[in-house]
């Protein structure tokens, strides 16, 4: 089949923002933070980086998987992204991560408002786009 979509542009954007945030948190934690050491590997900060990477991955998967529960997961993801952005801002020199976390939190908040809306799979007759 040619893959057509009933997935809203907002949800496609949210998946993209979750995956970008996941990528940056995982990369910076395992590269920059470990190389720089000091406050960059302080337990509270580093754990938030890991938490944020994982919840973003899971949240993207819920939307990709046409889950009826995606809005609730988006809510938790937004909270954790905001906490991670704040921690990164306090550490300093983590601007890319701060920005990715804030953008992901914003996108996730928009999904909560549209909680009655199901991902593509729940709507009749359409496949979900995977071109993102």
């Amino acid at each position: 089949m040619t893959h057509q979509t009933a997935m809203s542009p907002a949800m496609q954007q949210c998946i993209e923002d979750c995956q970008r945030c996941h990528n940056i948190c995982l990369q910076m934690a395992m590269d920059d933070c470990l190389r720089l050491g000091g406050k960059h590997v302080a337990p509270d900060h580093f754990r938030l980086m890991r938490d944020c990477a994982e919840i973003c991955e899971t949240t993207a998967n819920f939307m990709l998987g046409s889950s009826s529960k995606h809005a609730e997961v988006c809510g938790v993801c937004a909270d954790i992204c905001e906490a991670c952005a704040q921690s990164c801002a306090q550490i300093g020199n983590m601007d890319d991560c701060v920005k990715a976390c804030q953008q992901c939190a914003d996108s996730c908040r928009k999904m909560i408002g549209s909680a009655t809306q199901r991902p593509a799979g729940a709507q009749a007759g359409h496949g979900a786009s995977a071109r993102m």
Copy 2:
């Protein structure tokens, strides 16, 4: 080091229940449900099985990772486990899955009440037990 623990017995139990629920949902989805077909692969049911497996895995990882955000993730996990238990009960012949989901939901609810309590790593001078 010998691995000693400051992790509460309730949290150790919750990790164990999350992983058991993950295992049963994943196994039954990819084995029993696919072999039996029919209502067992109805989109709404099968997606809940996937959702439940993934959120249980993530929730266990938050507690294993000494996350300060575990209680919020436990809350979402409990909701999804309850929805999955209900779906499995309606399908019928999914007793093991119903039971594992309910037990996981109960354990997760207990974690929410103790939200101010941090996992082991946040408490001074102790390692977390990994014997579970």
Copy 3:
């Protein structure tokens, strides 16, 4: 810090291809395959879709995490992507998935040849780019 990169363009492309393949496999399995039923939920086919989604996710994470073991994981990922592409081609009407799996397999094979090359984090003085 501003995020600069020592990650090779080939590795950046491989991460992108792994994540695209993960996305398409997960989306089509949980949307198109479940809606269409029949041969689309045949156990052998559907399990390969799940396997492919998960190994692609893991392989991307190994590269994002500056792992010294990424080439070995890329090798397994390429094999599973090829098996999934073949299964999708036999089922028919899964062109997007066939294409994504083949492209991911090709990118992963290129990583194996450059196995002595470490991801960005292992090279002195540079952060890894997360702009992908």
Copy 4:
């Protein structure tokens, strides 16, 4: 249904060993290693801890998901577990992690030898046990 099993005892043991190794690597990395600092957060060591936790999780999921490709994933898992065990032994005071990694590597090696054997789901008429 009551959940009966055609899964071999060796595979059940391997799933258990993978999940135990995942748990210990994740817990010790995010608790002990971050608290102790120094060589415990040296990039090469810490990345292996993360790699090992993730490949063990993925390997367990392949077996739980009745994958026909589990033996190949077990092979990579065994290699990474051995590298992690060696790194932990060099760091010192990581005995629980060394032991869990070695046991997981041994279990995974046994799966490779039985590569023609499929997980439970591939065998007619039986469900896979999820009691582990």
